[in-house]
Amino acid sequence: MSHAAEKTDLTPSRFVGGEILARYSRMALAVAVVALGLAVWLGWKDPAYFARQYLMNFVFVLSLALGGLLFCLIQQLTRSGWSAVVRRPAEALAANLQWIWILFLPFVGIWLWGRAHDGHGLSLASIWPWADLASMGEHDPAEAHIIAAKSGYLNDRFFFIRAAIYFIVWGSLARVFFRGSVAQDTASPEECVRITARLSRTAAAGIILFGLTTTFAAFDWIMSLSPAWFSTMFGVYFFAATCTGGYSLITLIVLKLRHLGINRAVVSEEHLQDLGKMIFAFGVVFWAYIAFSQYMLIWYGNIPEETTWFLARQVGGWGTVSIALLFGHFIIPFVFLISRWIKRWTFTLAVGCVWMLAFHWIDMYWLIMPVIPADVGSYATYNEFASAYADTASRIGNPVNFLLLLGLMGLLASSTMRRLSTKSVVCVHDPRINESLSFQNI
């Protein structure tokens, strides 16, 4: 046991977020309500586009909470010692998965509305074209023929049943890990050991459930936006993206709590450096590895049924977004985060986190917003296609995007901070807390 560990007073009440976080939580909620109201007011004129913008921001916020859950699962599964002092913010972030299904309800609403109005106006097919094979068959019979073959999977009922399964799995896992960890704050040392052992076992099964549910959720909500397109890597891509967003946000929360002085006594530069390493390894490099592999193999294979997805992302304004991702999501943060001092200095690490969150958001925008032009197959050369769509705008600067982002992030932040305001922000009675306190990088 190091001297640092011996001296630290580990009373849970010392690390409770308290009134300041409760006030932030209320402020975030107010911002969220105003922003969402404004977004609806501005965006409602084009409901189909608005629905897609909402989907994109929903997936972004969801991926952050999933990243929090992934962090808890991995740390418990690997019996990690260093992370005990920074795990509670991740658990609080993941705990949002218990209510996040509410944000998915608008899609159920759109589905029911569409059914009631027989496809006139907004319907599920306004977002996911496979939901209305009949109208698809009218203007693109070839594609409808392909989609019809997979209607056993891509049909509205099964789609919502699957969504329910995902939310139940995520919500239950998040609940188990948050509750178990919080229970340790007041439990006896023997009980704490038992809880950690139990969570470690749960994490083994949990990580498998997590992998499968996030994969199929990515297929359902993102990949099936272009229903004819497919990639075996897609689930892994989304998984990597949850690391980028989740780990960056966890680090940002830890930094903010440190700034407020709540966990300063226990969280040192050593922990910050390790969090930075996690972002660097999984959020930057692993993501780039997966993104590169997926792109390179499709580009090299050059089969039209696969390349269309990337074609839609390299014409007009989308080309800029793609290049921005290459530099902003990989090259620049790679060079930035590789240095030791960057990860240990609060300011630079915070800059890195905000940067990665921004590019994770752009990544989600890039995944969800582009639509493959229906006539993509009718051009003889790529250049003809590119010039026909040269003025396609990515519309990324549309204020509704940011209002929705602000709104949904506000809800997430409010709920996370409310949880941290009444609980200790450090897992003080984690059996490995001493190891975490005395942890040093080599």
Partner: protein
Amino acid sequence: MSSSQIDVRNRGFIDTDNTGDTPGRRATLVLNMHRFHDVTQQVCRIAEAKRAPVAWYVAFAISLAMVSMLGFCVLYLFFTGVGVWGLNNPVMWAFDITNFVFWVGIGHAGTLISAILFLFRQKWRTGINRFAEAMTIFAVICAGLFPGIHVGRVWLVYWLFPIPNQMELWPQFRSPLLWDVFAVSTYFTVSAVFWYVGMIPDLATLRDRAKGRIQQMAYGLFSLGWRGSMRHWHRYEVAYLLLAALATPLVLSVHSVVSFDFAVSQLPGWHTTIFPPYFVAGAIFSGFAMVVTLAVPARELFGLKDLITLRHLDNMNKIILVTGCMVGYAYSMEFFIAWYSGALYEKFAFMNRAFGQYWWAYLIMVSCNVITPQLFWFKRMRTSIPIMFVLSLVVNIGMWFERYVIIVSSLANDFLPTSWGGFIPTWVDICTMTGAFGLFGVCFLLFCRYLPMVALAEIKAIMPEADPHREHPQ
């Protein structure tokens, strides 16, 4: 009173079982030893013994016989041509490339253990890293053999490398086969450097203890004047960390590039985007299985059970379980997306794999790689020596068949039914494959006999005695 007795009295107990899991208490990784000198003795006596155990001579004789067979097969191939293998049109790659991918895969665990587990601060890696790295290097040698002898005109094999020449003939830089040349040779070089740098302090230990003139000269030469000064250690540790960081991307890149050999093509069953991480997971899976296959007899034979403990084996079996699940995930994604794609040829390729002429190979692959490793969910299975030994062999068989299924079934039944075919291995195919195991065996046995099999210096650093802040029992 010797220091060992003091230690024993102070601790009050000697650890004999370290597989228990109590959160908050880290398991002891070195059993029954309380002095650094005990570790030195245990490891060095293998290299210093006048005679190796009888089993070593038996294994060496068998391996040598297999190498002779390999030599004969290779010469026969050179003098006759690649027609002595069962290759044909359309199955132009079969045993050769299967063996290549198999051995490259085996070669993945070493660098994962030495580099990635080092960065993840997994202290248990010190018990197994040295011989896992050795295994990596020998496996990559076996892997390199196969494309080398497959080129047909073996006297032009140097054309694999872009060597400036008068005729301005260059390899095809757009071909993943050339990327393979770079990826595998880089991997081999970096792994060998990493292995060697890690071994220098231990070679110096052997040098200092050596009695014979030849041993003194040989270990002295390769320990490069290591004297174990503070300054040496300081630089050594920095160098080791940097090498670990530089080797880490290689763990991913090599098998990713190997997967590109297949995935950049348009052949159904080969062209699929999940191939790079799927191949990497499979490689780690088979590599760890091979480490278990080797560790189980080695710790028995050379009396290393206190250094390569049941805990180490338990941990490795967990990694086998994890990577086995990843491989199972990849199999399922391939199948699901083949159906989901709606593409006729994709669907056919996978149905054909499972139910076509190679259904038996597919069945072996799935049962060995996905189904049987699930036994490792149970701690009793993970800590049972006979079970883990059998399962590790099963995984190796399964992973060999995985490559066979991918390569042969996709080539045999591609787009045009008129060009379909099949593959039947010849005796040369089978003997070459077997011979490669002999080559691996000879190298590995020589390593076990003459070099420090366990990282002496590193393992001492993880003993409780090395930790200045360790808890002092009252």
